[in-house]
Symmetry: C2
Subunit: 501 residues, 2 copies
C-alpha cells in the first residue's frame, strides 16, 4: 500500500467509523453469531498474493462488525464501560503511525516525556497527593496495560521491598491479602507469582467494605502463625457491587504494621475522584496518606481508549529496585546520567505503546470540566435507574447504588399480583428465579447486563458509562427489565405447576 492508497483507505476508514456511530443505536447490542462463525468464513491460510485493500476493508464490515458486541451502544450496561472516544481513536492512530516502542527515553523522548507530564495532569485531576507526582522526583506514575498488570507490579514491588527488609523470610511464608470481593486480579497475581492469597471476609452489613478491625485481626492471627502478609490489594469500587474498602481504617492499622504495602485498586471508580464531592466517600485523604500504590483505569470510565491503566507509586525506587535490568544494548547516555525516566524499569515488559497521547487528547478536548460533567452525568443516570428500581413491585436493589453501578434482582413483593402468593420466597427459590430471569435477559440482543453473586445471592449488575447513554435508554432498560421480570415470574410459575420447581 503506497501513500496515496493509504490516504484513500484512511478516508474510507474514517467515513465508515462515522457511519458506525450514526447507526450504532439501531444495531443490536449483542452479536448473534455462533461459536466458529468466523473460521467457517475465512480461508485456512494467508493468501499467497497480496489482496486489494478495498476487499479487506469490505470484509471487515462483512465479517467483523457482525461479530462484535457493541460496548459503545447506549444500551450496553454490562461489566464496566470501556472508554472509546474520537479523541482516543485519533491518538491511537497518530501513535500507530510512527510506532516507537518507548522503552527508554532516548528511543523516543516525546513518548516518555508526555507520559510523565500526563500522569501528573491525571494525578492532579484526581486530587492525588503531590508525593505521587513525577515532578516530586521520588514518587511517580506510569501507564500500564490493565489493572491486573498494575496490581501484579505492585505485588512484585512489595515482595521485593519486603524481602530486602527481611531477607531470611522464605517466599512460602508470604501472603497477599485481598477480600472476598477483590477482582480476580488478586488470585491471578497469586497464581502468577506462586504466592498465597488470603481473602478477608467482608459483610453485607458493611456494604462489602473491608473494615480496619477485620484487617487487624487477620494480621494478628497470621503473625501468630508465622505468616507474613506483605501487601493488601484494597479496592475502591469493586466489580461485583462497587464496594469501597475503608482505606481510612486500613491506613490506621498499617501504622502498627508498617511492612504491609497498601495497593489501592480503583480501576473503575478512581476517575470519580475528579469530582470533589466523591473524594471523601472514596477515601481520598486516606489514599493520599497511606497508599503505597494507586491504580485507576482511564480506559474504563475515563473516556480514554484501552489500554490506559494509570499506576502511581509513592516511591519509584520500589519499582526500579524490583524491575531494573539494563543490558548494554539498552544503555543510553541520558539513562546512565539519571536525568530521564526509563519507563521500561517501571513495568513488566520492555516495549510499550505511546499511550499517553490518548490521555493528552482526551483531557484537552474534554477539559477537566467536561470530564467531570461526563462522570456526573453517568452517575445521575444510574441514580435514575436506582430510583426506578426502588419503586418497582418486582425488582429490588441489592445494595445502595455505587456511583454509576447498581446491583439488583428480581424480588417480587408479596403483594405482587404476578407472584400470586403472600409468602416471602426462600433464598434458594429467589436464586432459581433470578437464574431464569438472567437467562431471559441474556437471551436478548437489544441490551446487555452481567450477573454476579453477592454472599450467595444471584444478582444482576447495571453499569452506566457508555458515552451515548441518555435518560431515554435508562427508562427503556428499566421498562424492559420489568417486563422480563414479570415474564420470568410467569415462566417460573408455569414450571412450578408442571412440577419442575
Amino acid at each position: 500500500m503506497d501513500i496515496e492508497q493509504f490516504r484513500k483507505a484512511g478516508y474510507q476508514a474514517i467515513d465508515r467509523i462515522c457511519d458506525y456511530y450514526y447507526t450504532l443505536q439501531d444495531k443490536p447490542v449483542v452479536s448473534s453469531v455462533k461459536p466458529g462463525y468466523l473460521r467457517d468464513s475465512l480461508p485456512v491460510d494467508a493468501p499467497e498474493a497480496g489482496e486489494d485493500f478495498q476487499e479487506i476493508a469490505d470484509d471487515y464490515q462483512k465479517f467483523i462488525i457482525p461479530g462484535l458486541t457493541h460496548w459503545q451502544h447506549p444500551s450496553f450496561f454490562a461489566f464496566f464501560p470501556t472508554g472509546c472516544t474520537f479523541e482516543g481513536m485519533l491518538a491511537d492512530l497518530y501513535a500507530s503511525s510512527t510506532m516507537n516502542p518507548g522503552f527508554n527515553w532516548a528511543c523516543s523522548p516525546a513518548c516518555t516525556e508526555l507520559e510523565a507530564v500526563m500522569m501528573d495532569w491525571a494525578a492532579k485531576l484526581l486530587g492525588l497527593s503531590p508525593e505521587f507526582l513525577n515532578t516530586s522526583g521520588i514518587g511517580g506514575g506510569s501507564i500500564q496495560s490493565t489493572a491486573s498488570d498494575s496490581a501484579l507490579i505492585a505485588v512484585v514491588a512489595a515482595r521485593s521491598l519486603y524481602q530486602r527488609r527481611h531477607p531470611s523470610v522464605p517466599q512460602s511464608s508470604l501472603v497477599i491479602y485481598t477480600t472476598t470481593q477483590t477482582h480476580s486480579l488478586g488470585l491471578k497475581a497469586g497464581l502468577i507469582l506462586g504466592l498465597s492469597v488470603r481473602a478477608l471476609e467482608v459483610t453485607w452489613e458493611d456494604k462489602f467494605s473491608l473494615r480496619g478491625e477485620t484487617l487487624r485481626k487477620a494480621l494478628e492471627g497470621d503473625e501468630k502463625e508465622g505468616k507474613k502478609p506483605f501487601i493488601l490489594l484494597a479496592t475502591v469500587g469493586t466489580t461485583s457491587s462497587g464496594a469501597i474498602d475503608n482505606i481510612s481504617e486500613i491506613g490506621a492499622v498499617t501504622k502498627d504494621y508498617s511492612d504491609l504495602w497498601v495497593h489501592v485498586d480503583a480501576a473503575w471508580a478512581g476517575v470519580a475522584l475528579s469530582c470533589p464531592e466523591h473524594r471523601e466517600p472514596l477515601h481520598l485523604n486516606a489514599i493520599n496518606e497511606y497508599a503505597h500504590s494507586f491504580c485507576t483505569n482511564f480506559h474504563k470510565w475515563g473516556l480514554t481508549n484501552f489500554d490506559t491503566s494509570t499506576l502511581w507509586v509513592r516511591d519509584r525506587k520500589y519499582l526500579t529496585d524490583a524491575l531494573d535490568v539494563t543490558p548494554p544494548f539498552l544503555r543510553s547516555a541520558e539513562g546512565d546520567a539519571g536525568t530521564v525516566i526509563d519507563y521500561r524499569n517501571w513495568h513488566l515488559s520492555l516495549g510499550r505503546r505511546f499511550r499517553s497521547l490518548k490521555l493528552w487528547f482526551v483531557l484537552r478536548s474534554f477539559g477537566a470540566g467536561g470530564f467531570r460533567d461526563y462522570i456526573r452525568r453517568t452517575i445521575n443516570l444510574n441514580n435514575l435507574f436506582a430510583s426506578l428500581v426502588s419503586a418497582s413491585s418486582v425488582l429490588s436493589l441489592m445494595t445502595a447504588p455505587s456511583l454509576a453501578l447498581s446491583v439488583f434482582r428480581l424480588d417480587p413483593k408479596p403483594e405482587s399480583a404476578s407472584l400470586n402468593s403472600s409468602k416471602a420466597l426462600s433464598p434458594e427459590t429467589l436464586n432459581d428465579l433470578n437464574r431464569i430471569y438472567y437467562a431471559r435477559i441474556s437471551a436478548r440482543k437489544d441490551i446487555l447486563l452481567t450477573q454476579t453473586v453477592l454472599n450467595g445471592a444471584v444478582c444482576i449488575r447495571f453499569a452506566v458509562g457508555a458515552a451515548r447513554t441518555e435518560e431515554v435508554h435508562i427508562r427503556g432498560a428499566y421498562q424492559l427489565l420489568g417486563e422480563e421480570g414479570r415474564l420470568a415470574l410467569e415462566e417460573w410459575r408455569k414450571a412450578g405447576q408442571n412440577g419442575n420447581v
Copy 2:
C-alpha cells in the same frame, strides 16, 4: 467532538500521516530535544475547559513530532526494527473505533475468533507443526504484548506444570536456564517471579549458540546439587548478535530431562521462518519436535504494528491450568460449555486489545509471498552491508551476519594509513577506540545504531528492517560509518599524542 468534527479531524490525521511519510527521509533520524523539553512546553494542569481539536492536532505536530526518534526512517539501524505499515495503522484505527476488551469470547466473538484463525495463519506461514494450531484443539496460539510477556507466561506455565508433577519441591530450588546472550527478558522473569536464573556459557567459537553438551553438563551438575532447572529460555536470533541456540542438540538432551520445558524465543528472527531457505538454519524441525512454547514478534521484523507478540504452546492446558481464574462476573454460557476459547486464561492480564486485526490486514495485503519478499529484501540489504564491511580497511565484522543483523567494530588493519602503526591493537585499546567511535556515531542525528558487548568486546550493531530502507541508504550508511571510523582514529591518535591514551 461530534461525528462530523471527527470526520474532519480524521481526514486531517490521515493527510498529516501522508505528509509525514512523504518527508520522512528528509528528517533527522534522531531527535535533538533535551531531557525535560516537553514539560517546559506544556501547562502544568489539564485545561478546565475543553479545547478545540485543531489546536490539539497542531500541538502534536509542534511538540511531539520533534521529540520522536523516527524508527521508520530508512537510516534507522538501531535495536531491531519495529513493524509499522499502513495496513497496521488502519487495523489499529478500526480496532480502536469499537473498543472491546476481548477477554472472553462473548465480550466480542469476532475478536477471539479472528485471533484464533490468525494465529493458525501465522503458524502455517512459519511452518510450525500442526500441533501448535488452534484447530488441533490441544495446542494453540494467542497474541501477547511483548516477548517479555510471552517468556514470562512460559515460565509461569512451566513452573506450574513442574510443581504439579513435583509438589514437594520448594520454589527456592527452581532454576530458569538462559544463556549469557539471552535477552533481558530472562533476568526480568526471574526478578518478577522471585526465581533463580542461571546463564549458561556460550562461546565465540560456537557463534554464541547454546550447545547440547553445555546444557547437559549444567543439568548434571545442578541435579547433583539438588537444583531443579525447569525451563530453558532458548533463543533463535539473540539481540546482541543474532546467535541461534542449537535447538536440535538441546532437544536431544531433553529426551533425558523430560521435566525441562523448552521455550524458544525467536522474537526477532522467527518471522524469517516464513522463507523455506531459513528453516533449517533456524532449527525449525527441532522447534516443531521439542519446543513447549515458541514466540516471535510480528511487531519487530514482521510488518505489523506493536503490539503483536505471537506465542504458541504445544498444550493449551499448560496455560489454563496455570492462569485460569473465573469469577461469576466473567462466566458466560459459551465459556461454561467449553465450545470457545476464553483468551483471558492464556495471558497475564484480563482485558486485551483487538490485535489480530493487524495480522489479518497485513497478511492479506502483503500476501505470504509479499511477506517473504520483504524478509528476503532486508536480508539482502544486510548482506550488502556485511560485504562492504568485509572489504573495509578500518571496519571488521565481529560475527558472520545473521539474517538482517551485522555486528561490527572499528578495527583498523595494521597496514591502514590511518593507524600509522604496524602493531595490532590490544583488546583494551580496541575497546577504547570503539567507545570513541560509538560516541561519534551516536552524536549524529542522521543515522542511528546501537552498541553491544560481545565477550568483553565493545561492538556496534547494524540491524536492517525499516520498510523504506533501500540500497542507497545501506551504501550511505557504510560510507558514513567508514568516515566516522577514520575520524575516530584521528581523534584517538591526537588524544594519544596529548598523553590521554
